[in-house]
Symmetry: C2
DNA sequence: CTGTAATTTCAGAAATTACTGAAATTACAC
DNA sequence: GTGTAATTTCAGTAATTTCTGAAATTACAG
């Protein structure tokens, strides 16, 4: 570990945060290292810097690839795999959200839909449990629908929108004449968010 | 476990998803049970329904309280503690985001700020590592700043905004005259998001 | 093809996290 | 205060996850 002190600190911090972020220490540290490296690194260099076993690094890199968080590259006349993270932080944010949605939201939404579909047949229509489940499903759909819409917006348009913050409202609270035309198109949901990694076994 | 089948399924699903959501099986199941219960439940009832040990349930409830995800209530003439989740799903969403931000974002933002502050003194100003760290910190500040702003908006105004989705843009892309007045107030960051649970030990 | 470098797989060891039952503490009725 | 119900703590155990080194596989140069 002949890392510069700042790099070192970030690497260790990412390692510690890893468990909270749904990855492990190794994966967190590898990611931080790649994120801060100017040049792509190969597995042996990562072992070297972080002091993990070769196999552990291999698994860590595999995991990062499963998360779409690293890119594989090659150098001329060198058949080892080199890894980088995207330069553009916004790209990283997008994949991070996509992947977490895929793992943390989609399976549940899928489950709720299945459950409700099955329950529709059965007699009871206003069972309070079903009511609550329906409410939850609707919320998930509203949120994922919103996300899918927002995610269409290219970064250079999205950033100014974010900077606007809550002031969006001030603009939208303009005279009826302006916003009125947008009234019809509510409910941006119901499709998408397919079947996910199906943690549910039915 | 004499739970109705839908409740049962949701409970088991939440238990399985728990690890992905940063809680454990017990906590996930307890939460689902409370979420779907019409009436508040006490610890013994929860043990009963889920088949966990009394102590495990106690710890689970403590954890849910730490997350602000459950409310403590009392029945007249009964000195046991009863627990519920808020009726309003939006309240739940807000606490969920708040708490995850607190655990997953704030410690890192805090760390990055400290690191940059310390590095400012040291000679090098355009070290590529520092540059990258700065970039990351700015991103975190933009995002948390946006969130803090949006979080101010009351639910009944927020929901229509969400339904609007990407169409927000269409409204904001109106003639300069309308949006122009909002240009000045960019950068909604730099304060807030204090020191967090400080996973960093320095 | 053969040989070698690079990577992956995998069984077991190490570390961490979850869970239990017993003991301790707290909170209140009498 | 004493006694009892409710809850929490905690040490030990169970279960899970992470990590390693050795063996297997893959990829390619000659």
């Amino acid at each position: 570990m002949k890392l510069d002190p700042v790099k070192q600190e970030v690497v260790l911090h990412f390692g510690e945060m890893g468990s909270r972020w749904g990855i492990n220490r190794t994966v967190g540290q590898i990611y931080a290292l790649l994120f801060l490296s100017e040049a792509p690194l190969n597995a042996d260099q990562i072992c070297d810097e972080l002091g993990f076993s070769r196999s552990n690094v291999s698994m860590g890199l595999k995991e990062l690839q499963a998360w779409n968080l690293v890119r594989l590259q090659h150098q001329v006349g060198d058949r080892r795999d080199y890894f980088t993270t995207p330069e553009d932080l916004w790209e990283i944010v997008r994949t991070l959200i996509d992947e977490r949605k895929k793992r943390e939201i989609d399976p549940t939404l899928s489950k709720l839909r299945t459950l409700l579909l099955a329950a529709e047949d059965s007699s009871v229509e206003n069972d309070p449990t079903l009511q609550r489940v329906r409410e939850l499903k609707d919320l998930f759909e509203l949120l994922t629908g919103w996300y899918e819409e927002i995610n269409q917006i290219p970064t250079d348009r999205l950033v100014p929108l974010l900077r606007l913050g809550a002031a969006v409202q001030r603009v939208l609270m303009l005279p009826e004449r302006v916003t009125g035309s947008l009234r019809g198109r509510s409910d941006a949901s119901s499709k998408g968010a397919a079947d996910a990694t199906a943690i549910d076994g039915d």
